[in-house]
Symmetry: D2
Subunit: 289 residues, 4 copies
Amino acid sequence: MPEETLTGTLLLSCPDQRGLVARIAQFIFTRGGNIIDLDEHVDTNEGLFFLRVSWNMTGFALSGDEVSNEFQPMAEEFQAQWTIKLSRTQDRRRLAIFVSKYDHCLQEILWRHELGEFQADISLIVSNHTDLKSLADLHHVPFHVFPINKENKLEQEQKELSLLKNENIDTVILARYMQVLSPTFVAEYPNNVVNIHHSFLPAFAGGNPYKQAYERGVKIIGATSHYVTDNLDEGPIIEQDIIRISHKDTLADLIRKGRDLERMVLARALRLHLQDRILVHGNKTVVFD
Amino acid sequence: MPEETLTGTLLLSCPDQRGLVARIAQFIFTRGGNIIDLDEHVDTNEGLFFLRVSWNMTGFALSGDEVSNEFQPMAEEFQAQWTIKLSRTQDRRRLAIFVSKYDHCLQEILWRHELGEFQADISLIVSNHTDLKSLADLHHVPFHVFPINKENKLEQEQKELSLLKNENIDTVILARYMQVLSPTFVAEYPNNVVNIHHSFLPAFAGGNPYKQAYERGVKIIGATSHYVTDNLDEGPIIEQDIIRISHKDTLADLIRKGRDLERMVLARALRLHLQDRILVHGNKTVVFD
Amino acid sequence: MPEETLTGTLLLSCPDQRGLVARIAQFIFTRGGNIIDLDEHVDTNEGLFFLRVSWNMTGFALSGDEVSNEFQPMAEEFQAQWTIKLSRTQDRRRLAIFVSKYDHCLQEILWRHELGEFQADISLIVSNHTDLKSLADLHHVPFHVFPINKENKLEQEQKELSLLKNENIDTVILARYMQVLSPTFVAEYPNNVVNIHHSFLPAFAGGNPYKQAYERGVKIIGATSHYVTDNLDEGPIIEQDIIRISHKDTLADLIRKGRDLERMVLARALRLHLQDRILVHGNKTVVFD
Amino acid sequence: MPEETLTGTLLLSCPDQRGLVARIAQFIFTRGGNIIDLDEHVDTNEGLFFLRVSWNMTGFALSGDEVSNEFQPMAEEFQAQWTIKLSRTQDRRRLAIFVSKYDHCLQEILWRHELGEFQADISLIVSNHTDLKSLADLHHVPFHVFPINKENKLEQEQKELSLLKNENIDTVILARYMQVLSPTFVAEYPNNVVNIHHSFLPAFAGGNPYKQAYERGVKIIGATSHYVTDNLDEGPIIEQDIIRISHKDTLADLIRKGRDLERMVLARALRLHLQDRILVHGNKTVVFD
């Protein structure tokens, strides 16, 4: 790894107690790591401790698996939820992007990916329609079509899940995918399915949010990226943004302006997710940005 | 009126038809007016015409009442809703500000008023508590207390309405007034009661919006100024704005940050209202800014 | 033209005088037009009148050339600068996009163009490098390479101008084109060369604005789209926008975040230009949006 | 201290080396402290380490002075610049606010102070004019007038400095104070004089920034809060913000809109300063917010 420094990143949450930072920093130090970024937050109401720490691995005595193995006992003592990720190319996350007919979010992700903005591989695209196959082809990403109707929905999802497992997918991006995933699917990827909803949640959940916004006469519209849970549009929010509108804007203008918001917000959320900057607790997120 | 130019402002909505602009502009021109600002919007879906036009009255042959009298037949022909306002000091709007215990919105309005930002008189303050009397005294604005409970609510509102009538009030500002006005009250001031709600409506309507926002884990909070109708928090929206929050922000931080939003949004909405820049149609506004 | 209404748009500036709106509106009315959008602004300090008016041409008695011919005498009387454009396909503007090596602005424009956001044809792309040829090919836009060095600059510009004339180009977009155009070139396209500068002008004019911003330690970076004049980065500003940065952002992060700003701001400016929403006076713009 | 928890805050910068976080966290832990907020940043280009850490002092074995004394040897070993502040009322910072004739920034600070937003005492107000004396009186803050002209400037500054020393002032706020401080004055309060400049620096430094902005025709104006150094408007930037303007805005509108920006930006900068969230290195700031 000559051109880029190898770094490790620990993301951890646990009940708060004295000495957590000292012990974790000591763990890294005694193995030769140099901390380059540490962000810690304590929710004093709930007595919860949240931490993201990155360290330079140069001269670090352990491999990735060994780090995790050595950290395991301390994590158990802390009753922690945690992950350690290394910046090695072979450890990059593998993404599946789900789409329907709209291309803007897919375009944005593919383009940023090619610019090197995401530390991840886009392994495949899944769609219930064939419309975006040529875009996938252009970027040489395998495109799998699973048409969905009321009768075959669960069956098709099982095939999708098989495909994702075979391809070792660890994150699913819903890039304006117009189907609701079943609880069974969601349970396979807890906090690893990232959706973009085209409203400022919790306003205008459900279908046709731009139409709802137009009819209500709001002066600002938004977009929200969140993790998918069993409750539609109610998962932990990762990122939101807004844009001003006026009485001059037709419904078509809202859709046009919203397109820009959707792709920007989804891209930012995806980047935060892939950099291990997000901890979920309850239905909320801690975002270390 | 040596120091400032006298201007007239017509605000009008009616079914769309050809020639409306030509006839209105001709009306102003033939009486010696020079148009300095004209903004027109047609809602092509609904076939509605909206117009705000201001003209320099120097050399205008008519007084304010005469202008309205002469315009009346044309307005009837157009089936228009309309007002004509002159910039004369004696025609300034008279405001009543309703408050409870929070001072930030009242402070902001009083201060901007003294800076000359509003073309209006603040005639009186009404409250259901005595907390803000000293602030009112400081600015030499009469302060009237009407304590409200379940039993006396309608009776007290009648007294408030009598007071407002005696004082020729034409606009009521709810500056974090913590009581819901009855339909009877609202009916007396259609599209002339301006409220500030401390959320990004329609998200978090009702009580405790900051607590709702905190618990939902949103990344952005907002404030909304709207005209009051019979349906709580559902009136036509005048202005909205937002501010970013993060997981570090406690509920107290949301309240603190929200204070700044509330007073800014209410002040902007009030300015738009007082400059006759707002037309209401259905439950939406056309804002000529 | 069955699927879309034919509209006309007049953009006009002239010395202010009484009756301008009345006479222009009357001109449109008497020929059967229905005004659907009118925005007028008077700069009372300088005594200048600015107007943009759009009207529905259904039943309009005149063709495009005839409208201009009939309006000509009135425009002369007003000493106006003006254009009338019709929404007919054959009257669409023809664009040339100039690029160097960065693809993000070009990508954004090509993509929005295919979504139908611009009422214009992208006729050709000019570059001083070959890097973006494959992107041009993909979108079937002719790509012309004119390598530039100190010696051949003016000569190459002449060839470019010949090409533009042969292709009836009326607007040039500098989409991160890394060459300064000569006054001769600029003079051929007054107020029709749209540039994007990667800073919040007038801060950080000239080269390497992100490096300048990084070294100054600003907390916000920006992008500015403007018409090109003889003075580098000093032409009339069309549109600007900003994004927050922090001490955590490296120079590479500024460049990455700035990319999103640049393409959004350029796209918005281009849309305003193509919808005839911009009037230039002196070194400033009036933008009717 | 029954009603609020006593906390300590260490703000530190030094050359980067391995083990810094571990040793500092260990220092706090072994004395019984519980870290509630830690933010660390390494500038890898310059090899610099920046840290802000807050801990709950409940059960902490040392007083404020003792903490600093015990930390001193480690800080020397690290070659660090550092401060440790406790949240005790008797350690609150003492502020002097300098004003001239504009009241908006002073109003904002006094008002927020009374709402409890700042952990500080406003000890006195200094002005070169008498205009704002009644406002100071109203809030019971001593008001000192030092009229300044070319001849007496340095002499008056000496008197101001004497006053500040007698009153144990540690932070000076320039709330639209229209005099340039001499290098002698600035040297007495390094990184402790907070100014608000009414432009988006480095654009429009110097006098009349709104006029400059108006004449340049920008579409966005800004305000910048920074520490004062010997070079006018070139000190380390703490906070900036912006607001959109249009061709409709006169110079008076820019001043009016800018007022709101100025007071908000200054208030945010002051809060960051008083919460020990700012580290200065070179001419830039690290802001832990």
